[in-house]
Amino acid sequence: MTPTRETFGNISTSSQVVFYVVAVASMAVFGYGIWRRFRLWRQGQSISLKQLATGTVSQIATKIGPGLRRLLVDGLGQQRVRGRGLPSWAHGLMFAGFMMLFLGTTLLEINHLAEMVSKNLGFHHGLYYIIYELTLDLFGLLFIVGTSLFFARRLWKPPSVGHRGTDWLVLILFLAIGITGYFVEALRIVWQQPTGIGAQCSPVGLWLSSAFRGWTEGQARAAHLTVWWVHALLVFGFIAAIPFTRLFHLIAGPINLFLSKTVLGQLKPITLEEAERDGRIGVSDIRHLTSQQLVSLDACMECGRCEDVCPAFATQKPLSPKRVIQDLKGVMEHLADATPDTPLSPHDVIKPETLWSCTACSACVFVCPVRIDQLTLILDMRRHLTSEGGLSGTAATALRRMQSSANPWGFPQSERANWVPESTSPPPN
């Protein structure tokens, strides 16, 4: 007999109907959560997304190619998450498990919808079934191990990592989803009694099913239905929680990876026309940031890597790149109930000393796993301070000297080649 199992086996039609109703409800909460952030992002300066989708196919490909590459390499490939030892492993395991379980659940759903159309369209059997079951069975373990490592890390509380109460909800939700998933599988094996490869291809589930040895089919089916519901409701809770917890980086992170065009050491020029039109230079209101910069604030996971490498932070100056992002995010959140005229200046929460502490060394930008450009945000705010005459002391003197003598020391331009060794023969004329 071909190895298989019935999709939604042991789940009554009425349960299935309720399942789909709850599914739609949780998707709606998810959608609302995204929309409420999207409304904030839209209040930034336009990044002309439409331009990305115009032109010939090859023009579009050149425009979106680098972004897609970042999604694949940095996102799916987890390239920038690496390099931090155990936390990197934890993320890698959780991510691999999560993605595989997500893909598996999606395939299962496609199979279910296909079977509703025609029984012949179902594909959840045979070799596919064996590979499917084995893969999900094993990746579920990676998911649980990764989540447990994060659980330990949250208990440990490294100071550079941000902590919020809802982080515990997320981790407990993940652990519960992983564990109930295995119980659903084990109890299904108890009532279905698969034999041969059909049972062996779910090694963890099979091992767990031995705990229910001696249960009657009726008992197993009843328990299966209950645990299945618990599992399903946890998953729907998780989907609904994404936009309201740290899980939101699942959405904002990839969007920022796609949109971020950071080139280390390069800044966006301001033209005189722009300065005249806008009546300002740099950023004095949160809405002066681009929509991409606003997305990047939501992409921040507070992993603390930027803070760990910041030379200003390390020498007890009032700057943490992570804090800057979080402070800006706080200002952005006020956009939710602000009228277009309400002034929302980041300078009210981020002090000039903080901004002047930055050495523009790019270490924070270099390590950020989701490619947040802390440096450009800081320099955009500096531009405003400087234009308002907010720079004083020796640095302001250096700027004045650069203006008058074309060098920050203020020496005469005529002495610029005085360093040339004495032995130089006199220049002609």
């Binding site: 080139v263 280390l264 050491g265 390069q266 800044l267 020029p269 301001i270 300065a275 230079i281 740099g282 490498v309 030379p311 200003a312 390390a314 020498t315 007890q316 100056k317 002047w356 930055c358 050495t359 523009a360 060394c361 790019s362 270490a363 270099f366 320099l379 500096r382 531009r383 405003h384 301070l385 400087t386 234009s387 720079l391 002391g393 020796t394 640095a395 003197t397 250096a398 700027l399 650069m402 203006q403 074309a406 060098n407 920050p408 020391w409 020496f411 331009q413 005529s414 002495e415 610029r416 080649a417 005085n418 360093w419 040339v420 060794p421 032995s423 130089t424 023969s425 220049p427 002609p428």
Partner: protein, 270 residues
Amino acid sequence: MTEEQQSESKPVAPTVKQNPDFEILYWIGCAASYDRRAQRVARATVKLLNAAGVNFAILGKEEKCTGDSARRLGDEFLFQELAEANIATLAKYKVRRIIAHCPHCVNALLKDYVQFGGEYEVLHHTQFLSQLLSDGRLKIEGEIPASLSGPLTYHDPCYLARVNGIHEAPRDVLNQSLAGRAGEQGVREMTRCREKTSCCGAGGGRMWMEEPPQQRVSTARAGEALATGATTVAVGCPFCLTMLTDGVAANESSARVLDVAEILTERLGL
């Protein structure tokens, strides 16, 4: 006139007017133009260029600050003014290839100026020196001087190593300069090196700001350099040179802080 006589009559660092047929422009930057310590880096580089018979020129009085600090201190229009003046000067002398020993100048010429129509091939002097060595135009011969026998570490400048990915060329020049030492091979590495280097504290206009002694980035970084046991700290940036010299002093060490070009001239006995 023989070739030797010709070179004797030529200035060691000719300006673009004195040597209009130059192949490569040596961009000096403000630090080496006016700071006494950094001037020695420019002189060392000139010695090496002369020894290799490189046909180069400098802008002399026509060079202006690149505006790197101004841009990063937030004064965009001062930066643009300086950039446009420099781009016009470089265009006047049809400059295509540039070498600079200051990573802030390298970055400005390479990444800032391109936004205003200035496109050049820009090399850090360590990249150019590494090429001269591999082409055999500079030859390392004879005994290594005693001054280079001690442990040496190299501090990567942010604007060179991280921002522009240039970290092998300086190591190549240093390793070749140190070849033949008894007992020890090459550069001793700090934990934070290459792209992961840590700042000297002078970038982003901080060069021009006061720092309370207990908060100095340079003291911390010099401490990391000295922890390798190095008696010579090599740098590739005039800002790092100033900062680490102060930092080494703050750590009460007598280690030398030298630019890569100075180490190569020392090795070649120039």
